[in-house]
Amino acid sequence: MKNDIDIDITLPSHTRHLRMISNVGEKVAQEIDCPEGIRETLPSQLAIVLTEGLVNAIKHANSAERNTEIHVRINVSDKVLVVRIYDSGLGFDLDAVPTPCFTSNGLEEKGRGIFILRSLMDTVKYSRSDGGNVLEMRKNLA
């Protein structure tokens, strides 16, 4: 079976839509043809990746403008799954986000989102795009 999926969703920049997007990701992942080892964990991984990516766009990237929209694209081929989340905010420096502290001394409430994305996806990039920014995350399927 050949994977050839292209999903494009535009939605308001609000956390009440997290469940919907998370569910979309889970369903898409369940339909993908990929190796057994990836297929088992991909649905829950994609659900959390979309959630974290969207929260990042809502809380940090779009924070200056309350009524903006977020654009999510999910592309799946035989070899790779790509998630792109577009925001229209000022952006941030992805490389400056530190790894969270893992011990009970120095535990922080925040800062695990990007770490989770980097752990679950093969590549994570954030760059300027069309007057805004795009968080692009790739996972190899082959």
Partner: protein
């Protein structure tokens, strides 16, 4: 947020009756935990049996509760972690920080 509260053997147990603990609702849990500690609760068990999904915001609230309990020389323990939640704890290595139990009874046992 739907939370059921019980007081058993001097320990407050909060049953989180939501299937998701994420950026959309985690602040409500944070407020409830803060309310509990401000009202004098020191030892608290959070039962997550119904929580099927947690994100970094949800984890952050639990960390906040843990830190507040520590400041009061009390405790925040967790019970009934479901599969995705367990995975997220392991991914972020929070399973080494929290006392996590299979059931509420096991968590209560740890106070006896």
């Amino acid at each position: 947020m739907d939370i059921k509260t019980e007081l058993t053997e001097g320990v407050t147990v909060l049953f989180v009756r939501e299937d998701r603990l994420d950026a959309n609702n985690s602040e409500e849990l944070k407020i409830e935990l803060r309310r509990q500690f401000e009202s004098g609760t020191k030892d608290l068990i959070l039962d997550l049996k119904e929580v099927l999904f947690i994100d970094s915001s949800g984890l952050g609230v639990l960390v906040s509760g843990y830190k507040n309990a520590s400041i009061l020389h009390g405790s925040l323990k967790l019970s009934n972690l479901q599969s995705q939640v367990k995975s997220m704890f392991e991914l972020t290595r929070l399973h080494r920080v929290f006392d996590i139990f299979t059931t509420v009874d096991d968590a209560l046992q740890s106070y006896r």
